[in-house]
């Protein structure tokens, strides 16, 4: 189960981070010279930066900290070796055209990583030289001046190292090729017995994502939208287009839960907390060529397909429903008064869903995981809780907590921070995953690479 897998990797991640944090000294994110030599010089007077008003989290960690991870270090070594081998191979004359192309691509991929790593090592060397200078300084006046300069430069280099490490870690995160895609976002109300909590919550979530799209300067195109009889929303489908939409919103898919104490005026017996749920589905937009649909495979239902049409009938029913016969996937739209426009919109949605089905077929773990997030829509699958009575939003995958739920639901900066946090966690997990899988495969690596040096 994906959720368990996530938890398992999380505990290992936390262990890694905590162990590096023990060696982490000082506040503000950089290490002092003395700190590098051992924990006995730990400066414990520095305030913990993450407890001062910032949202609390279970697993607070920085990308840069992963640098200290033994497996990550090994991984970097492997990549450096690979880069060396690739470069050597490229210098050989008897490399075939196709192989040259592959090697060239790999070289282009690895070069920036290796360069960053070299710069980190250079900076560390500078730091060591500086520490020698520092330790050899006496207590005379001019030496005190020298010590001041040393300290300043030490701060600079240390901060540079931190930045470089963070950059390197981020560069090592395996890229999701779908990250830059536009998406189809769907909000679906859950079911409760009595009342309209779910529908109202769905409507608020719709507006939250609308606000977020505006904040991120994305295009928010409503494809279909069905209000409930009360003041709420049953279901809506939106196409969001812009830069890296999928990257930011891919982790929004799943069950969201709301906890609310209903309006004042009810008897105390009714004043208990009410719970509702809704589901968010995020589908990446297929590239046109990826989804080819044969018109023969489609059954298009319109008013006229149910009987007479044409000049002999007057109708205002322009709803369209398309069924893809081989898979049974459907899409419908009655958003506009033009049947043609509704049909085009329904086709768009159908393509999103077909693409999703295609990706599923490829047994991609990511997509399976996403489906499982949405599948059951039971309480146990919730990814986030919006607690209006306690004024906080909690993401259950990372423990991230945000206050001021009213501001959060406007979909601006607070949501952006949460989304970035979830993204960071998942990227770190992806990095560790790549590291682990490469270390397990390296032991099985064929000996050919070692023989390349001739």
């Amino acid at each position: 189960m994906f959720v368990n897998g996530w938890c398992r990797i999380w505990t290992s991640c936390r262990r890694v981070i905590y162990s590096s944090r023990k060696r982490r000294i000082g506040g503000g994110g950089w290490r002092t010279l003395t700190g590098r030599t051992g924990p006995k010089h730990a400066n414990t007077s520095g305030a913990q930066p993450w407890s001062s008003g910032a949202p609390s989290r279970f697993c607070h960690s920085d990308f840069g900290d992963l640098y200290e991870n033994v497996s990550v270090q090994k991984y970097i070594q492997q990549l450096t070796e690979e880069h060396g081998n690739v470069r050597k191979k490229l210098q050989h004359l008897y490399v075939s055209e196709s192989e040259r192309k592959v090697l060239q691509m790999r070289h282009t991929e690895l070069l920036p990583l290796v360069t960053m790593f070299e710069r980190i090592q250079e900076a560390q060397k500078d730091l060591e030289e500086l520490s020698l200078l520092y330790n050899s300084a006496g207590s005379k006046d001019e030496d005190e001046q020298l010590m001041e300069l040393c300290k300043e430069e030490e701060m600079q280099i240390s901060s540079k190292i931190v930045d470089l490490r963070k950059d390197l870690m981020e560069a090592l995160v395996p890229q999701d090729p779908l990250d830059s895609s536009n998406i189809l976002l769907e909000v679906i109300s859950g079911r409760t017995t009595g009342g309209d909590i779910c529908q109202r919550f769905t409507s608020e979530m719709f507006e939250m994502y609308q606000g977020f799209a505006s904040y991120m300067n994305w295009d928010f195109e409503v494809l279909s939208c069905s209000d409930s009889e009360y003041s709420g929303l049953h279901h809506a489908a939106v196409k969001i287009a812009g830069e890296n939409v999928y990257r930011y919103l891919k982790h929004e898919g799943g069950t969201h839960r709301v906890q609310i104490i209903p309006e004042v005026g009810l008897s105390s017996r009714m004043q208990r907390i009410h719970t509702g749920t809704m589901t968010v589905i995020i589908l990446p937009q297929p590239v046109e060529l990826d989804v080819r649909i044969d018109p023969k495979d489609l059954r298009i239902d319109t008013f006229r397909s149910r009987g007479a049409g044409g000049q002999s009938v007057n109708t205002t029913d322009s709803a369209v429903r398309i069924v893809h016969l081989p898979t049974g996937i459907t899409a419908e739209c009655q958003q506009t008064r033009s049947q043609l426009k509704n049909r085009d919109t329904a086709m768009k949605v159908l393509k999103f869903r077909l693409y999703e089905r295609m990706m599923d077929k490829e047994n991609n773990l990511r997509h399976r995981a996403r489906k499982q997030q949405v599948g059951m829509r039971t309480q146990s699958d919730r990814i986030r809780t919006y607690n209006f009575s306690q004024d906080r939003v909690t993401d259950h995958r990372t423990g991230y907590e945000a206050r001021d739920i009213k501001a959060f639901m406007r979909g601006g900066e607070p949501l952006y921070h949460l989304v970035c946090d979830v993204l960071k966690h998942s990227e770190m997990e992806a990095l560790l995953g790549a590291v682990e899988s490469s270390s397990s495969s390296s032991s099985l690596k064929p000996p050919e690479l070692e023989q390349s040096a001739d």
Partner: protein, 314 residues
């Protein structure tokens, strides 16, 4: 004959408009209808929709739910119920708004098509003004425009002549739906449209003006059945001739639903004994109107099953 028809329509309209509890309408009123009273207490749009849906159902008005939804959405400034601004549906309507709802919905009670009640409708990506008795564009005709556009793509004028010198003629333009859609999609195209109904000619001109397309469309009041030569004199050869002509059999006219029978121009529907009267006339004209280049074929939309008859004109 036509005088009687126009009187009938006017009376039907008046019956719809005067459906007030205290209203007086003549013995010749097409249908008795007593309008439900405007509520005393304020109600929400949703409640109004529900009330009128029930009224329509009680009186046998077709598409009761769609009718009330479209009319009320229109009065709330939206085109469909889905696109009404969030929250507006559950707000209380002002007394003025409620009266408007009642006025328009009462018209629908007389079986006036929704398109005439709200005086507009959408066709592809255009919003057109609608006015009885001018024929209301059917959804199927949206596809006809697609077919013409596809052909314009596939068969550019030989000699590298670009859209700028291409023109088409539409016979029986009605509200202007087909011509205006084509002109909107192809900024360089020019067109000539004719209709035997002066109401249609005026409405097409009005819609062209509203859409800013009046410079590329000339509309003439001509009856192709009677004045074929006049049609030929209107313009030089065109590369395309397009039409959604009347095609119903005369004997089928009387079984049409009230929405059409009472309110739409019968001449826009009645194709004669074999349904092909106007079609044949257009086809006879075609060789003289069409320029000498390019293939000759036409696509006719016919029948409930929406078969397209592709006929080779050679």
């Amino acid at each position: 004959m036509s005088v009687f028809k126009s009187v009938m329509w006017k009376r039907a309209l008046n019956a719809g408009l005067m459906c007030q509890p205290k209203g007086t309408w003549g013995v010749h009123a097409v249908r008795r209808c007593s309008a439900p009273a405007v509520p005393v207490n304020r109600i929400t749009a949703l409640q109004a929709m529900d009330i009128w849906k029930r009224h329509f159902m009680e009186r046998g008005v077709t598409e009761p739910e769609h009718s009330s939804q479209h009319i009320i959405a229109h009065l709330l400034g939206a085109k469909t119920i889905e696109s009404v601004e969030r929250g507006k549906l559950t707000e209380l309507l002002s007394p003025e708004k409620t009266e408007q709802v009642w006025k328009l919905c009462t018209r629908r009670l007389s079986r006036m098509p929704v398109q005439y009640v709200i005086e507009e409708w959408d066709f592809r990506d255009l919003t057109l003004k609608m006015r009885p008795p001018v024929f209301i564009p059917r959804p199927e005709t949206e596809e006809l425009v697609d077919l013409v556009l596809a052909d314009l793509e596939r068969f550019p004028k030989p000699g590298g002549v670009v859209d700028a010198q291409r023109s088409f003629m539409e016979v029986g333009c009605g509200s202007g739906a087909i011509s205006l859609s084509l002109l909107k999609s192809r900024p360089q195209l020019r067109a000539v449209a004719v209709d035997r109904s002066l109401d249609a000619v005026n409405l097409t001109r009005e819609n062209a003006l509203r859409l800013g397309l009046q410079d590329r469309l000339q509309v003439y009041h001509v009856d192709v059945m009677k004045d074929a030569e006049t049609v030929l004199d209107l313009c030089g050869p065109v590369s395309t001739l397009v039409s959604n002509p009347p095609y119903l059999f005369s004997e089928d006219m009387k079984s049409l639903e009230p929405e059409i029978l009472r309110f739409e121009d019968h001449a826009a529907l009645d194709g004669g004994d074999d349904g092909l009267g106007v079609i044949k006339q257009i086809l006879a004209l075609a060789p003289q109107i069409l320029s000498n280049h390019g293939p000759r074929f036409c696509i006719l939309q016919k029948d409930e099953s929406n078969e397209h008859l592709d006929m080779d004109l050679h």
